[in-house]
């Protein structure tokens, strides 16, 4: 019943990998080349482990779930940010170039410190439910419209992989720009009636050029988001919403 989609004879794959260990004194960024034989169903996860085992035990990269779920393994694959674990080598040419995500602090080779960056972002945007009321959890929960719950989940699916940041032109120019990942998070909380923050509160967080007004809608982000989040429409929605608030209190407008 399944298509045996990889039935051709084994290809030789050539990997060009950007190597650099900032913890190693005197080390300098360089491209290194590895050659391995492709196996059927091979993903970049399998290929990189093969290289580490058989060619260079010091090669650094991050995988956790190896199933496209956790967001650990984002890297620049042939020039485009993506998740390495769910990329089948069969979908690529025989010469494959891998580099770490830009913007994030480099740990070594293909491993970057996205966790740290995301933590900072979450702190800054306070990505949690803001509510004062005490609940009694023995009582039946507050109802929520089923469609609304689905809509929130749709945005909650972001895995903080950092692809959208690596693919964003604005981030290159504005270091503090919160990127699509940040804007999507605000859209998620803005939608959630459990979070009691007002639109004005959100305006204070993102109503400037490091926030929603910094985005140039070039849409690099939506193209590379492995979860296919509707980033474009959400950013547009937020921009309209925030513009309205900005106009109500013009002193806040800063562009």
């Amino acid at each position: 019943m399944t298509k045996d989609n990889i039935s051709r004879s084994a290809r030789q794959l050539i990997f060009n990998i950007l190597r650099f260990d900032p913890h190693l004194k005197g080390d300098r960024p360089r491209m290194e080349r590895f050659e391995i034989e492709e196996s059927s169903g091979m993903t970049l996860f399998i290929a990189l482990n093969d290289i580490r085992r058989n060619h260079d035990a010091s090669l650094k990269f991050d995988f956790v779930c190896r199933a496209g779920i956790c967001g650990s393994c984002a890297m620049v694959i042939n020039g485009k940010p993506g998740l390495a674990c769910h990329t089948l080598t069969a979908s690529l040419d025989t010469e494959i170039t891998l580099a770490p995500l830009p913007v994030f602090e480099l740990i070594g080779d293909l491993s970057v410190y996205t966790g740290n960056w995301m933590r900072g972002l979450n702190e800054r945007l306070e990505t949690w439910i803001h509510e004062q009321e005490e609940h009694d959890f023995t009582r039946i929960e507050e109802p929520m419209e089923p469609d609304l719950a689905d809509e929130i989940y749709e945005l909650d699916r972001c895995i903080e992989c950092g692809c959208c940041i690596a693919g964003c032109g604005t981030v290159q120019m504005r270091e503090e720009f919160i990127g699509a990942v940040g804007l999507n998070k605000i859209a998620r909380y803005q939608l959630d009636p459990r979070d009691k923050r007002s639109d004005e509160d959100y305006y204070d967080l993102i109503g400037d050029e490091d926030g929603v007004f910094g985005c140039m809608t070039l849409l690099g982000c939506e193209d590379v988001c492995p979860k296919n989040l509707p980033l474009q429409s959400k950013i547009a929605y937020l921009r309209r919403k925030m513009l309205k608030i900005g106009l109500k209190s013009p002193k806040k407008i800063c562009f």
Binding site: G41, K60, C65, G68, G71, N116, W128, E141, E142, I159
Partner: protein, 680 residues
């Protein structure tokens, strides 16, 4: 030497660890959470299907309550679970899920009116009542009487973990990622008891070692699935938490042989497709496209308990009904009958996984699946409070622990539920402990330094083998090879069906590997800082020990119970084996741990052992079972005639409320069990 002091050290940033941390923080204690990876990438994020809690909101959940959930859990465990712990769990689960709802989890909600569902391959209409509209929905899962598994599409673990980590950030909890605990620091305390004081921790970016000293140390490091070559687990589920507990020589592990195989992981990579596939109406098929489960299990069919379905699949493959492939035989999971719309909405991760890893469209094509290692029921043995019975100040919870909710088989959906519930409860017991004088830190800094030096020395041996072995004998070993050998032994000899001969071989071979692992030399990568080869080396040494505890426990247990299935001892033997395997490794020079057993007392059980309802009953019965059955019947009769409610009857059978922290003792409200408003 860097020493960090805190009240509570939590090792592990998954659901269990984070919920423990938020709990102790809310009680006013300082806490540090360590994690190998950013907490949101912990394995908990991979849970797809859902979380069990007896809310009874949905039409198919009607009539559900703690009693039904309790019975399902105990039967599922094949009577191996601790029944008081199970009671505490089912009572707290509804509170846990409602708390998560308030913290932001977008649980899938009930839509009033008629819905089509697939049950037993037929389309059935289900009507949801008005008053349930907007409440948390639930789906069917294996081994449960009611539809009890609450979910957010099929990203349940992800949405739970995100809400939990966000909560931890709101509380400004000190979370340190890319930090690995590699040894526990312990000593005799001033009152003469063995006491845990924290851990030696390695920074995975810089290689720096430091000591974290705490009143209470909690291990919440998840399972040990990666001792097998194919597993649904994330690659960081390597059992290091259990190993560092074992290496104290004092703390004990429980039921390490109890390992679950999930029926539907994709072939060959072992990535899971959730039980929700079958819960929502999908079925298993063989090489002829024939739906075979009803032949084996006429009542529960494809939704029998996990251990049962996995065994039946294996049996069917052995009969020659598997689909041959270059990766060995497999079967099919057919969800085409659910329709594209349902799959793209409620089984989205499954859809993605099929497309990305198999290149197939599950709305049109069948999915190649095979039973695969999935869950560790065994773990660090604790009391109901989460504290080790033998090492004061050491706590464990979540999949890392064996407090023992799951016995020999865990029900789907009970695990993420357990992580949160155990975190909530254990946090309270820890906070209580921290308030006592007994918890004050009375460790000598020489001892701390000794532990750090010892670890430094071990790492140095791995990196500079030649200096430590001038005469070049014994020959240096390659950690990757030893690890692969261990994984293969576990796959081939400690799998779904086990037998004495294979298990003995496994134990023998693992002992040799353990010896050889003392001579590992890290090649080609000598950095002390971030160094994957070094990490693999010291983890392999620890993992072989964990593999041995599982294989040895399995060899000694000459019966079949839950997921532990012995071909040479196919019967469940309550007479001799209604007991928990307890493992301790007091002498580090020996190649085998010490094993003892902890009997389960039938006369105190609320649900004495009986027939689980699968296949034919061949149990070797314990004499007490019937006695207890009769005693329970007498109590029930007396209570029913006196017109008492289910709570007081339960309390008469097996009291447990007093064990719960006072704040979690309240009854749970349901649509059919409304509180009077003055009560709320």
């Amino acid at each position: 030497m860097k020493i960090i002091y805190t009240d509570v050290l939590v090792i592990g940033g998954g659901l269990a660890g984070l919920r423990t941390a938020t709990g102790v923080k809310a009680r006013g204690y300082d806490v540090v959470v360590l994690s190998l990876v950013p907490p949101k990438r912990s394995h908990s994020a991979a849970a797809q299907g859902g979380m069990q809690a007896s809310l009874a909101n949905s039409a198919m959940g009607e009539g559900d309550n703690e009693d039904v959930h309790f019975e399902d859990t105990i039967k599922g465990s094949d009577w191996g679970a601790d029944q008081q712990v199970a009671r505490m769990f089912v009572d707290t689960a509804p509170k846990a899920i409602r708390e998560l709802a308030a913290w932001g989890v977008p649980w899938t909600r009930i839509q009033r009116g008629n819905h089509q569902a697939i049950i037993n391959t037929e389309s059935v209409t289900i009507n949801e009542q008005n008053q349930a509209h907007g409440l948390i929905n639930s789906r069917d899962f294996g081994g449960t009487k009611k539809w009890r598994t609450c979910y957010t599409a099929d990203g349940t673990g992800h949405s739970m973990l995100y809400a939990m980590d966000n909560k931890a950030q709101e509380q400004k909890i000190d979370i340190q990622e890319r930090m690995e605990a590699i040894a526990l620091i312990h000593d005799e305390s001033s009152n003469g008891k063995q006491r845990c004081y924290g851990a030696v921790v390695r920074n995975l970016m810089t290689g720096e070692l430091s000591a974290y000293i705490a009143k209470a140390t909690t291990i919440a490091t998840g399972g040990y699935g990666r001792i097998f070559s194919v597993s649904t687990n994330a690659i960081i589920c390597e059992g290091i938490g259990q190993a560092i507990a074992l290496e104290t020589g004092i703390a004990t592990l429980g039921n390490m042989e109890a390992i679950q195989f999930h029926p539907t992981a994709i072939v060959p990579v072992g990535i899971l497709t959730t039980e929700g596939c079958r819960g929502d109406g999908g079925v298993l098929r063989d090489v002829d496209g024939y739906r075979f489960m009803p032949d084996y299990e006429p009542e529960k069919k494809d939704l029998a308990s996990r251990d049962v379905v996995s065994r039946r699949m294996q049996e069917h493959i052995r009969k020659g009904k598997g689909v041959a492939s270059r990766y060995g035989d497999h079967l099919w999971l057919d969800i085409t009958l659910l329709g594209r719309e349902h799959i793209e909405k409620n089984l989205r991760e499954v859809n993605d996984i099929c497309k990305n890893f198999l290149g197939i469209d599950p709305a049109e094509e069948w999915i190649p699946v095979r039973p695969t290692q999935h869950y560790s029921m065994g773990g660090i043995r604790t009391k109901y409070t989460g504290e080790s019975a033998t090492l004061k100040g050491l706590y464990a919870c979540g999949e890392a622990a064996c407090w023992d909710l799951h016995g020999f088989n865990r029900l789907g959906g009970n695990s993420v539920s357990e992580t949160v519930v155990s975190g909530m409860l254990v946090a309270e017991y820890i906070a209580d402990y921290c308030a006592t004088i007994e918890s004050s830190i009375d460790i000598n800094s020489d001892v701390i330094e000794w532990f750090i030096r010892a670890e430094e020395n071990k790492l140095d041996c791995l990196l500079n083998y030649e200096q430590h072995h001038q005469d070049k004998s014994p020959p240096p070993e390659d950690a990757y090879k030893l690890r692969e050998a261990m994984e293969t032994i576990m796959m081939d000899k400690v799998g779904i069906f086990r037998n004495g001969k294979d298990l003995q071989q496994a134990v023998d071979e693992l002992q040799i590997l353990l010896q050889r692992s003392k001579n590992i030399s890290v090649r080609r990568s000598k950095s002390k800082a971030a160094n994957p080869a070094l990490e693999n080396a010291y983890r392999t040494q620890k993992m072989i020990k964990i593999a041995l505890t599982a294989a040895y426990g399995a060899l000694l247990r000459t019966e079949s119970r839950g997921a532990h299935s012995r071909e040479d001892f196919p019967q469940r033997n309550d007479k001799e084996w209604l007991k928990r395997t307890i493992i301790q490794w007091p002498d580090a020079n020996k190649t085998l741990p010490e094993v003892s057993y902890e009997a389960l007392n039938i006369m105190k059980m609320e649900l004495p052992p009986g027939f689980r309802g699968y296949g034919t009953d061949s149990t070797v019965v314990h004499l007490d079972s019937e006695k207890r059955q009769q005693a329970i019947k007498d109590i029930q009769d007396e209570y029913h005639t006196a017109g008492n409610d289910r709570f007081s009857l339960q309390n008469k059978l097996m009291p447990y409320k007093a064990l719960l922290p006072p704040k979690y003792r309240g009854k749970n409200e349901r649509l059919n069990e409304r509180f009077d408003d003055d009560q709320g």
